[in-house]
């Protein structure tokens, strides 16, 4: 994960619930999470050799079929989409003025409210982080 946004981490800008997710800001913890994921993957992959699965489709029973499919399919889609973008991406005002992409959502339909840390101060004792 990108860790370039750590400059603004301060208690003020967090809600109590959000504080439980603070670990995403820490490069170490994220790395840990990735290791856990990798470990999980390894376990799942090994389980494939141990457990006999019931299968209908050809090759479905091949060990690691789903693992490989998942990895390759995802990569293919992401990379393919990247190539596709080179072909079809256009500036945002391409369809303007007949499409909503280039315009802002009208203010009257919104309720922009900045997060007010004061509220948190009041709630702080209850939430206990």
């Amino acid at each position: 994960m990108k860790n370039d946004s750590q400059k603004q981490v301060s208690d003020d800008s967090l809600t109590p619930l959000a504080k439980r997710f603070l670990w995403v800001e820490s490069a170490d913890k994220v790395r840990l999470a990735i290791y856990i994921l990798a470990g999980l993957c390894a376990v799942l992959f090994i389980l494939d050799f141990v457990v006999h699965r019931h299968a209908y489709a050809p090759n479905e029973n091949t060990p690691g079929f789903y693992a490989l499919t998942g990895f390759l399919a995802f990569s293919f889609i992401v990379l393919g989409a990247g190539l596709l973008r080179k072909l079809i991406a256009k500036p945002e005002d391409y369809y303007a003025p007949n499409a909503v992409d280039a315009e802002d959502y009208p203010e009257e339909g919104l309720n922009r409210e900045e997060f007010a840390p004061d509220e948190i101060v009041e709630n702080k004792p209850g939430s206990g982080s």
Binding site: S13, T69, F74
Partner: protein, 564 residues
């Protein structure tokens, strides 16, 4: 009949206009509840059978297939109404109830004529949810949407007339692709179901609707189309391949799309693909899968639209490139969004898992291996755009610096209820399975099933992590991506000025020429036909007798020649 679900909605939407502001939102909440009670109260069977001019109209047919759709539509209408509690715009409120009622009417229509009426009604009511945004671009988009939806209705009408001509029946049961009429009906359904190359209206319109309007839009039209396909074309093999294509191609578009609501629209298209495959296979298992998937899909797709809508409501944008790091101040929204993302990605214990696997199983059991593989790949793709992209780029990723407040209370409640339903269905699939059209003997939670799904998803996640690390994952850019709608939005319009100019020139020249000719002709005609002209002036004896003689000889010749 007035107590039937569609009419309850219509009556309520009419009543909305006449009651005070503060009573409107509660009424919108009560109506779906009453409608649900009405559906259960009427029970299965044909209600409201009218005989008009030898047509048997069945206004209200509740059976195993229409019942689950009716239930989920009511639930969706309830959740959307709750989510839209803050809306004070009467147009949107009336449109919401009217649209939900029309969609219910379509689902419960027992004949094609009734279906057609509701079919058009959904188009006309729903477009106001787009118009309500109030910008010129939304007006243009709404008009495009309306044109395509009405076109679908026209095709349906044409098809049903031809079908009636062929068979003498307007009953809406299994149709099959057997005649031009049924083909037309098929295409009409296909447009609303966003078949490939007929799908653009969906990605065009949904991001253009209001915050709450998109939530409403996402629930009804396409699922009504899925229902009609399941009713009329179950087991049509072509649908399997159409569905397979539908599951795959939107993924790529979703992956690079910047507007998150459009990402969700593409994702909706992809999910419809699963349902269409189920309809195409047409076995009991597959149809169960279709209905179950439609049911759970409405819930988690609503949830995702709600969370993105809440972000839009607070920040004014739903573009991935403008967002990021919102988990700090909108954690509840974030959690709900993640639940929705996991549901759509079909993690075990979430609703997507227990419904999608029915369709996948049906595909492999019926030896559609290629299609099955497409669906597996598409499942990985779902994770990429809906499962990861939506929550990750909205709530994590790089910090956009935006610190919006948490979504309003009613939105949070709506999202939490929806999220709860997503999990509840995932954990206790028996509830959903019990209302499916056919008996369900399927066990979703087998060890191998959970294992394979976890393998697929975890390794896909791994791929995501890997690609992010090496920087191959596409960045979010302020770009729009053209789709096949480019043809009618840009292609044809761009050549149009040239064509128009030449047409105009041709027209002017030919008109001048024609006018000159016409003028000359007019002068000639007037000369001959005016009271003193040769045609009009009373003919003299000479001319008259001459005509007689000529005609006489002509007739004599004509009569005698062949017999001479």
């Amino acid at each position: 009949m007035l107590l039937s679900a569609p009419f309850l909605f219509l009556i309520a939407s009419a009543v909305l206009a006449f009651i005070p502001q503060r009573l409107r939102a509660p009424l919108m909440l009560v109506t779906p509840v009453l409608a649900l009670i009405s559906i259960i109260g009427f029970g299965t069977g044909n209600h409201g059978v009218l005989n008009i001019l030898n047509f048997e109209l069945v206004l209200y047919r509740i059976d195993n297939l229409s019942f689950p759709f009716g239930v989920i539509f009511c639930i969706a209408a309830f959740l959307a109404s709750l989510y839209a509690w803050h809306v004070r715009d009467l147009t949107q409120q009336v449109a919401t109830l009217g649209y939900a009622g029309a969609a219910l009417g379509g689902v419960f229509a027992g004949d094609l004529v009734t279906l057609f009426i509701w079919w058009e009604a959904t188009a006309i009511t729903s477009v106001f949810l787009i118009f309500a945004r109030g910008t010129p671009a939304a007006m243009a988009t709404g008009m495009r949407y309306l044109i395509i939806q009405v076109l679908s209705g026209v095709l349906l009408l044409a098809g049903l007339l031809m079908h009636f001509h062929d068979t003498g029946s307007i009953a809406f049961n299994h149709l099959g692709l057997q005649s031009t009429g049924t083909w037309l009906i098929f295409i009409a359904f296909g447009i609303k179901c966003a078949f490939p190359l007929m799908h653009n209206w969906l990605q065009d319109a949904y991001p253009a609707a209001t915050v709450t309007g998109t939530v409403v839009l996402s629930a009804f039209t396409t699922k009504m189309a899925v229902y009609t396909l399941a009713r009329g074309y179950a087991g049509t093999e072509m649908l399997v391949y159409i569905g397979a294509v539908m599951t795959l191609f939107p993924i790529f578009f979703a992956e690079i799309e910047n507007d998150l609501r459009r990402v969700l629209a593409y994702s909706l298209n992809n999910q419809l693909g699963f349902m269409v495959v189920g309809v195409g296979i047409g076995t009991e298992l597959a149809l169960n899968g279709t209905v179950a998937h439609a049911f759970s899909h409405i819930l988690y797709k609503s949830l995702l639209f709600m969370s993105v809508g809440a972000v839009l409501y607070r920040t004014g944008t739903s573009k991935a490139s403008e967002l990021g790091g919102l988990y700090r101040t909108m954690p509840i929204t974030m959690v709900c969004c993640v639940i929705g993302a996991m549901a759509i990605s079909a993690f075990p214990l979430f609703s997507g898992f227990i419904s999608k696997s029915l369709i996948l199983d049906a595909a492999s059991k019926n030896s559609y291996y290629v299609v099955w593989f497409c669906l597996v790949v598409a499942s990985a793709g779902v994770l990429s755009h809906s499962g990861i992209k939506i929550p990750f780029f909205t709530f994590f990723a790089h910090d956009s610096g935006k610190r919006p407040a948490e979504a309003p209370m009613h939105m949070r409640i709506a999202m939490i209820i929806t999220a709860f339903l997503c999990v509840f269905i995932g954990v206790f699939p028996g509830f959903l399975y019990s209302i499916l059209p056919h008996e369900v003997s399927y066990k979703p939670y087998t060890f191998s099933h959970v294992l394979t799904q976890m393998q697929l998803l975890c390794f896909a996640l791994l791929a995501f992590v890997y690609l992010m690390k090496v920087g191959l994952h596409p960045h979010e850019l302020r770009r729009v991506n053209i789709d096949s709608d480019w043809v009618y939005r840009k292609g044809i319009p761009s050549i149009l000025p040239g064509v128009a100019a030449s047409v105009i020139a041709l027209n002017t020249r030919s008109r001048e020429w024609a006018l000159k000719r016409l003028e000359r002709l007019g002068i000639q005609v007037a000369r001959y036909a005016s009271p003193t002209g040769p045609l009009a002036d009373g003919w003299g004896v000479k001319a008259m007798v001459g005509a007689v003689v000529v005609l006489m000889f002509a007739i004599l010749l004509f009569n005698l020649w062949p017999n001479a």
